[in-house]
């Protein structure tokens, strides 16, 4: 049996191991399964007649984790990064990346462009599938609930749903009457304010608006990690000193973010939504002091905005339709720039990216009979992207790409600006069948026809076995693809020294070449989950998974450099190609335990232990390497203690094992350098019903024991391998409800 086949067999056997009792499913007594639901969830539960179907978490073949509004508040998930940090199977390396700030690994899938972020079912991440910052910009002030679906979901959602889907669900505007505002401040210049207000415009129509604004100077890491931030010369690759050590600046690493949100509901049939977020971080993030200048004006500013409309209608009592029209735009501020060794520490590293997507999708939900439901839909989307290489001055957005008139520094060669315009047509079908009280299945597939890279078919197959009233076994197989983002193919860089050869061609080394022929990365994912609730207040979940990714887009040296700049002779160039392959496997063990102590005290305990391994081959003949950015083991624990509804105390503990970086260990072929493991504790206090009973106060303490620790980095030869992390910080927030 091959290695991969063994892995699949192991997961299947694991799933069977949980099936010790005779299969019998829900009967009328299944009402007990509602008891563990939160009040939010109960109020959201639709009351259905005997002919209609109600699906809950245990009926889905996918492993789904749901966070309610109360959990989001009590656990102090101020933004999506905070929430993801607590998820089993998810790794986060904060403040390690120059353009996306935080790095995420989702069950072995590195980068946040392999999972979808949605707001009420509409995609709000990068419109053409690129990487985006997921940090303080995705604040959760508007969230009624956040659902995280693990595993491939491309059969429903299309491109990029390879690792999972995050859906932020907000209140129907009619349910969000009233207003609240919060403001807070803390260590290292941290400030944050948010508000949400809802109003009924008439009996039929209601509007919710909200927003948030955050900024932080962040800790002066050079004061806490002296050895990691020595004052050294900033030298170019050629060895000339650009800034001598005596003139070096202090470290700075500030961030800022904001968002705007609006939702208009007309009855239950029409929803119009708007969401915009913005994030600013420094392009020196993650870079060593010898390779970058820590300057506040060398920053990366991105904004993403999404507008959508959803029209729901019933064609028959059993056939529902939903028409979704959406537009999403992404733009990097033209003032964004790099000022590092790649730009010779000169002010010529400006970058500009722009992209948009617009689309229409018609979805149907057909209740064929009491046992079968069909989900189906068709859609069309078109896309546009523009990407520049490093520019000597900011891109002029009022001029066309051809009229920029910019030349590579030290040459007269015009800088190429790459544009792409393409479209995708899709159709999907999914059948959910309940065979008897114990067993249900799901089978579906989605077809995508892309104007650039052709057709793609992605199936999804699942089964749920309620082997006991309190025990559910789930199996899910899915295939997915990640469409090559324009940043993969068109993101080029390189500088000229000004030298020419005898033919008058400018000589350029170490350029990144474009590749217009990239194909999608394809992935296959198999997971088995066991969801056991031995008591109404105790839930145990085991989720094992195995994934393979083919056609992985990797950076490769070009044997014959692509000569994409007329008038230049490029050598030693690199290019992105579909040459890699990776696999990851692991298991997440999850515990949720609720307790009541008398009438006054209660607690929620949650925890997740994850074991994970992964490997990557960057080409057919390359050495197999350990997957980057994953610790083999990690444990995340948290507990919310509540005294009545007056006080909450939530300690959170993270025990993260040694984590693979992206840098190879030259002493052990096939291994990566590893960042030492760490233990981290955060503590959150909440006091409510203060003043006139409408005021709440929160105190959040991060890195309670003021530990010095590092997270894995090493995405290039000029970055830290181990990125220092902030010392203890605290923040006080007041929230007032009107």
């Amino acid at each position: 049996m091959s290695g991969y086949a063994k892995n699949y067999a192991a997961i299947f056997l694991l799933s069977l191991a949980g099936c010790w009792s005779t299969a019998h499913g829900a009967d009328d007594g299944d009402v007990q399964s509602l008891l563990p639901l939160s009040l939010d969830e109960l109020f959201a539960t639709k009351v259905v007649t005997a002919s209609r179907h109600q699906e809950n978490r245990t009926d889905s073949p996918a492993h789904i984790v749901v966070f309610t509004r109360e959990q989001i508040r009590e656990r102090r998930y101020k933004n999506l990064a905070d929430l993801l940090e607590d998820l089993p199977g998810v790794d986060i390396q904060r403040g390690t990346r120059s353009s996306v700030y935080n790095n995420f690994t989702f069950q072995g899938h590195v980068n946040n462009n392999k999972m979808l972020i949605m707001l009420n079912g509409v995609r709000i991440d990068h419109p053409v599938g690129g990487k985006i910052p997921v940090a303080e910009n995705f604040a959760l002030y508007n969230a009624k609930q956040v659902e995280v679906l693990y595993g491939s979901a491309a059969a429903l959602y299309g491109a990029d749903a390879a690792a999972g889907v995050i859906n932020i669900i907000t209140d129907h505007a009619a349910d969000a009457e009233g207003a609240w505002v919060s403001a807070g401040g803390g260590s290292f210049g941290e400030t944050e304010a948010s508000l949400l207000a809802g109003v009924k415009l008439n009996d039929w129509m209601a509007l919710t608006v909200g927003g948030h604004k955050q900024s932080s100077d962040r800790a002066r890491l050079d004061q806490y990690y002296l050895k990691d931030f020595p004052k050294v010369d900033a030298k170019t690759f050629s060895g000339s000193v650009a800034v001598p050590s005596v003139a070096r600046e202090n470290y700075t690493g500030g961030t800022a973010g904001d968002s705007l949100y609006a939702r208009l509901d007309a009855g239950d049939d029409l929803t119009l939504g708007y969401y915009r977020n913005y994030f600013r971080s420094l392009t020196s993030t993650g870079d060593r002091p010898d390779t970058t200048l820590y300057l506040d004006n060398a920053r990366w500013d991105t904004a993403i905005e999404t507008m959508y409309g959803t029209l729901r209608f019933n064609l028959t009592p059993n056939l529902k339709g939903e028409l979704v029209v959406d537009y999403s735009g992404y733009e990097v501020d033209p003032a964004s720039k790099y000022l590092n060794i790649y730009t010779d520490f000169q002010d010529n590293g400006y970058v500009y990216d722009k992209a948009w997507r617009r689309g229409v999708e018609q979805n149907f939900n057909w209740r064929v009979n009491d046992a079968n439901t069909v989900l189906a839909g068709v859609g069309y989307k078109d896309y546009y992207a523009l990407i520049t290489p490093d520019l000597p001055k900011p891109y002029n957005t009022s001029l066309s790409p051809d009229a920029q008139g910019l030349a590579y520094p030290n040459t007269t060669l015009p800088i190429p600006v790459f544009e792409a315009h393409y479209s995708n047509t899709s159709a999907y079908f999914q059948l959910q069948s309940e065979w008897n009280k114990a067993v249900s299945t799901m089978i579906g597939a989605r077809y995508d026809q892309h104007s650039a890279y052709g057709a793609s078919v992605n199936p999804r197959l699942g089964m749920v076995w309620h082997n006991a009233p309190d025990s559910h076994i789930k199996l899910l197989y899915g295939e997915a693809f990640r469409a090559p983002a324009p940043e993969d193919g068109f993101s080029t860089f390189g500088t000229f020294g000004g030298a020419k050869n005898s033919n008058g061609l400018y000589l350029g080394n170490n350029f990144r070449s474009p590749n217009f022929d990239l194909k999608p990365e394809t992935s296959r994912n198999l997971s088995a989950a066991w969801d056991w609730r031995p008591r109404s207040n105790l839930n145990f979940i085991a989720n094992a998974y195995y994934s393979e990714v083919d056609n992985l887009i990797v950076t490769s040296s070009e044997a014959v450099p692509t000569q994409y700049i007329p008038g230049a002779l490029l050598s030693q160039s690199t290019i992105k190609v579909n040459a890699g392959k990776e696999m990851h496997q692991g298991i997440d063990l999850i515990l949720n335990w609720r307790n009541q102590f008398g009438n006054a005290w209660s607690s929620d305990t949650w925890g997740g232990y994850s074991y994970e391994t992964g490997h990557i081959k960057e080409s057919q003949n390359a050495l197999t390497l350990a997957q980057s950015y994953i610790p083999e083991q990690k444990l995340k624990l948290g507990n919310t203690f509540r005294y009545r509804d007056r006080y909450t105390i939530t300690p959170k503990l993270y025990l993260i094992g040694a984590t693979t970086t992206e840098r190879n260990d030259k002493t052990q072929p096939g291994e990566r350098l590893k960042t030492p493991g760490y233990a981290l504790m955060n503590l959150h206090f909440g006091a409510h019903k203060l003043a006139d009973r409408n005021l709440s106060a929160y105190l959040d303490i991060y890195n309670l024991f003021d530990r010095r620790y590092y997270v894995a980095a090493g995405s290039s030869s000029t970055t830290f391998v181990n990125m220092p992390q902030p010392p203890r910080s605290a923040m006080l927030t007041l929230e007032y409800r009107f």
Binding site: A5, V31, L42, K46, V47, N372, E434, R535, N599
Partner: protein
């Protein structure tokens, strides 16, 4: 060996599943209105504070006054302790002077006498609950409402406060209140 792309067998499986699936039996577990109302009734103790921080009785007594709309649902829910509290179900035909309930559910069959019942409950330390329309406005404490396909809650805080009872902030945030 990489996994083969299994469109062939997936197609065959789909073909097999479609007709079989479409003829599958109509067993399914829908959530009925009174199932959800029963669960909300059972979870209410988590969201009620008794006078002076008193600890609620164990078992907690849930009374149903009038025609029982829940069938056997309450008994099924009572089989297992909720947050370490057991429950006892008591069916009542009328309100007596010595009524001993922590939560009193007043059935719709008692609509005609609702106001009289509410008057009789004055001074009794219990939480009154009903799905009779207008119950909270008439002076009842917790009204279970139905709007569209969802069950909601309407609270009368003043009525509760008269008995020294308070509702939890989470419930207050999600419920509507009668002023």
């Amino acid at each position: 060996m990489a996994l083969p792309r299994c469109y062939g067998w997936l197609g065959a499986l789909l073909a097999l599943m479609l007709p079989a699936g479409l003829n599958a039996h109509a067993d399914q577990s829908a959530i009925s209105e009174y199932s959800l109302k029963a669960v909300l009734l059972f979870k209410l103790p988590q969201f009620v504070y008794w006078p002076d921080g008193a600890t609620p009785r164990n078992p907690q007594i849930f009374c149903v006054l009038g025609a029982n709309p829940f069938g056997k649902i309450l008994e099924k829910l009572a089989r297992e302790p909720v947050d370490a509290h057991t429950a006892e179900i008591v069916k009542l035909a009328a309100i007596g002077d010595n009524i001993q309930c922590d939560f009193l559910y007043i059935s719709r069959s008692e609509s005609a006498g609702m106001e009289t019942i509410i008057r009789k409950l004055v001074g009794k330390r219990m939480v009154s609950v009903s799905d009779i329309p207008g119950f909270a406005k008439a002076g009842g404490m917790v009204e279970l409402t139905v709007s569209g396909e969802r069950v909601g809650v309407m609270l009368n805080r003043k009525a509760a406060q008269k008995q020294g009872l308070e509702f939890n902030a989470q419930l207050l945030r999600l419920a509507k209140t009668v002023e």
